[in-house]
């Protein structure tokens, strides 16, 4: 069903304004003075096109770091009114300019949140969001998407994939109904064009390891000392998980203010020491090596087995932000060679 089109460089702004005119909330990469981050943008000029990847992933938009699941109010007569999560209150949202790895990351989240029971807030947000991805023409030493079975021009997870081609124009692949609907009002801006080979316009990302081999290896490495060796300098913060597009761990807490209160969900990380701490004081993952092993196993063994997707998209963000230079490529290469 894919339709192929061409979006002229000069037409992009009109497309943006039209989306704005339709009242959509638009997230796009913006330079905040220090880093490029996905932010709600209101002017086209704010959007950054020339960048490798954002510091944080677009995960926050469909799986916010903090959101209320429900609220309650206790009346004087002890009756309780419950205010449930309202999907209708969510705005129509468009993400413009995320990288193919983030698009794949959102598929990983979808796999987790929709495996058996659908997670209402996630699904609602996902359904209301259209993903306009831009292929990569640059990468850095931490990128390894090709090692995880896709690449800088992959269409997985996107509604529209834009690939920058000659003259700064974009070759657009309209991949889904959502994508089609998005350009409906602007058909004129998208010229029809034949299907083309994107390869010359994409960056070449060298494969760093063989992920099928890793999956096999992990079957017998659970008690291997490499986990201790690898994680000795890990300090156990949550930075890697919080920037990861595919990490979905969260905590559910209540805030009780007496007569009113709410339940909320917020990000959590398997790297933090209290993550699996039991009330009894026992912690099944007592030391950092066990937590690090969990992170690798979850992404490269458990998820492929259960959800049939990798829990890692190869964006390399975890390696970039790690304060102590834990590097996932280095560690996976080590595993590969064992």
């Amino acid at each position: 069903m894919t339709e192929t089109k061409l979006l002229k460089k000069s037409s992009f702004e009109s497309f943006f304004k039209s989306l704005q005119g339709q009242g959509k909330t638009i997230y796009a990469p913006k330079n905040n003075g220090k880093k490029v981050e996905f932010t709600k943008v209101s002017t086209f000029e704010d959007i950054v096109f020339d960048y490798i990847n954002s510091n944080q992933s677009t995960k926050d938009i469909v799986f916010p770091r903090y959101h209320k699941v429900f609220r309650y109010t206790k009346e004087k007569d002890q009756s309780i009114t419950l205010q449930d999560f309202d999907p209708n209150a969510l705005p129509e949202t468009v993400i413009i300019g995320q990288r193919p790895c983030d698009a794949v990351g959102i598929l990983a989240l979808k796999a987790i949140f929709e495996t058996d029971n659908k997670d209402l807030p996630f699904t609602a947000r996902y359904d209301k969001t259209t993903f306009v991805t831009i292929s990569c023409n640059k990468c850095d030493e931490n990128c390894f998407c090709t090692s995880n079975g896709f690449g800088p021009g992959s269409t997985n997870g996107s509604d529209i994939l834009l690939t920058p081609v000659q003259n700064g124009d974009f070759y657009a692949e309209i991949l889904t109904e959502k994508g089609k609907n998005l350009i409906k009002a602007n058909e004129s801006l998208f010229e029809n064009t034949a299907e083309m080979d994107k390869t010359p316009f994409l960056v070449k990302v060298e494969p760093k390891f063989d992920n099928t081999k890793i999956q096999e290896k992990l079957g017998s490495l659970f008690n291997h000392e490499t986990w201790v060796e690898q994680s000795l300098h890990c300090i156990g913060c949550g930075a890697c998980a919080y920037v990861c597009p595919a990490c979905a761990c969260f905590d559910i807490l209540d805030e009780d203010n007496g007569r009113s209160g709410f339940r909320y969900k917020c990000w959590d990380s398997c790297g933090l020491g209290n993550f699996t701490l039991h009330t009894s004081g026992h912690n099944p993952r007592e030391v950092q090596s066990q937590r690090w092993r969990q992170r690798i196993y979850h992404k490269f063994s458990y998820m492929p087995k259960r959800e049939h997707v990798f829990g890692c998209v190869g964006c390399g963000r975890c390696s970039k932000v790690c304060p102590v230079n834990m590097n996932i490529i280095e560690h996976l290469q080590t595993v590969n060679e064992l």
């Binding site: 002890q78 203010n257 007496g258 007569r259 009113s260 009894s280 004081g281 026992h282």
Partner: protein
Amino acid sequence: MARIGVFVCHCGENISATVDCKSVAESTAEIPGVVHSVEYKYMCSAPGQLLIQEAIAEHKLDGVVVSACSPRMHEPTFRNACSRANLNPYMVEMANIREHCSWVHEKGEATTQKAADIVRTMVEKVKKNKPLEPIRVPITKTALVIGGGVAGIQAALDIANGGHQVVMVEREPSIGGHMSQLSETFPTLDCSQCILTPRMVEVYQHPNIRLITYAEVIGLDGFVGNFVAKIKKKARSVDEDVCTGCGACWNKCPQKKIPNEFERGLGKRTAIYIPFPQAVPNKPVIDKNNCTYYKTGKCKICEKVCLPGAIRFDQPDEIIEIPVGSVTICTGFDVKKTDFFPEYGYGKYKDVLDGIQFERLASASGPTLGEIRRPSDGQIPKKIVFIKCAGSRDPAKGIEYCSKICCMYTAKHAMLYKHKVHDGTPIVFYMDIRAGGKNYEEFVRRAQVEDEVQYIRGRVSKVIEKNGKLLVYGADTLLGGKPVLIEADMVVLATAGVSNEGAEELAQTLHVSYDQHKFFAEAHPKLKPVETNTAGIYLAGACQTTKDIPDSVSAASGTAAKVLGMFAQKEITREPIIAVVNRISPPAFSTCVGCFMCQPVCPYNAIEKEEIKTRDGKVLKELARVNPGLCQGCGTCVALCRSKSIDLQGFTDQQVYSEVFAMLNDI
């Protein structure tokens, strides 16, 4: 779910006149967890208490809130009542709707609402209460008395006569304190030494008293009933057991010109000396700073003349550790010296004296054998100006308080002078005359009327020495501030009474509090005047504030009663309102990381190190432990602990949070 009973008291009309108690009880009944809520006219009465006891049984209550007066007033009453009904007494809380509400507000809806709010917070608190058990600790029945002045002597004798062991530690070579320096005492003018010396001897000879002189307390560990005092016994250079006190040594000592501290510089003493003839014990010490042998390695005359052979030049200082159950601090006071007063010559004029110096001049055993003579030229002064409030009641000098004893002793000084020098003229400058006390006002009146002491109400701005006279510039404020100039032969300053040297260090050693003037602080100015904030440590005499002899002695007897009362028990029972360091399962054992930053903030020295060891004795972890005997539950460590590893039983973070939230969330 909790089963809480709420009992709203009318306190006669104290509460019910402004608070609608019925409405409070009714609204409280609606709080989740409250299964019984009633009002009654007098909850603290026998039927009131019975009402609670019956309700506990009938409604199977596991928590009780008595909504009445301050916990200071009746918490013990209601805790006992609940205890009788087999409810742990610490499951009871008082909601203070009297002092905190009815007494301070007008009658009205808002007042009733506030009362209901107060009750609600306590209901939320009691939901988080846990049953606690009182702490019981054994008692070492030996009392430590620090200081051998008249207060220490009285306290020691009272306790010893009560049948318990006493250890008395005195810093100076002899006991007696300031009272032994006095000539006569007000208001009876009886001889100070005549009434004190027999008691000093009694202390020395009492079978229950161990007297350690020339010694200081340098450490105190442990807690009420179980202290260990570390005492440094300074080397006397004389074997006390061998010395007979014959006096041969000090009569023969060639160093004779050392200013005598006991005479406050007005007399001289030898290097081996007893401070005064009636000293107890009557055993000399060698003043190493002034002894020829210690300075040059030669002399040893005292050793030669000592028949029993008691001189020990190589005697070392000795550290003794004694277990004691109580400590009574009676370290006394001092008075400011004349060099504190620039306007009166910075101590440069020889004939400007302080009060104690004048006592020594007037004393029959003093440097002039009781004759009033000028230190400068030995002449008998014909006119003496006494200046009261020299330093006292003077914020500019940093001493805001009234020294209390000066009005009386100045009247006494003026009288003694007049009695000894009949043609002399005593003139007293005063601010006010504060003669509150039995026969005190009469005494001052006698000085003014019978002994014709001239009292001038006014301050002295300056004393100038000129041609052997002291020019006293003052003002007579009863005559409209008329300037007065008096040519006096001697000026006596009633200098302010101040805390004794070393008081601050001692307070820190003993971990008791002291005020800005470094006087020891009592636990409560009215209701606990002889206790400190540290259980088992008591205060008597002028170490607390300047006091006269009757006050010092009565406080001393007061502390003795406290000590004897404690020693009469088998063990001490204490409120379990103490801080506790949490314990969790291994491998952490506690969230405490053992940084011990709580240690310096604890005013009671209650934080100890606890080692967690493996079976083979390897130390796994060091953590803080609160000694339940020492902790007074002040909560400072709780507030300081970064990892929130310490909590205060009875006032846990959870309880306080619940109270605050209950209050905030329903407004």
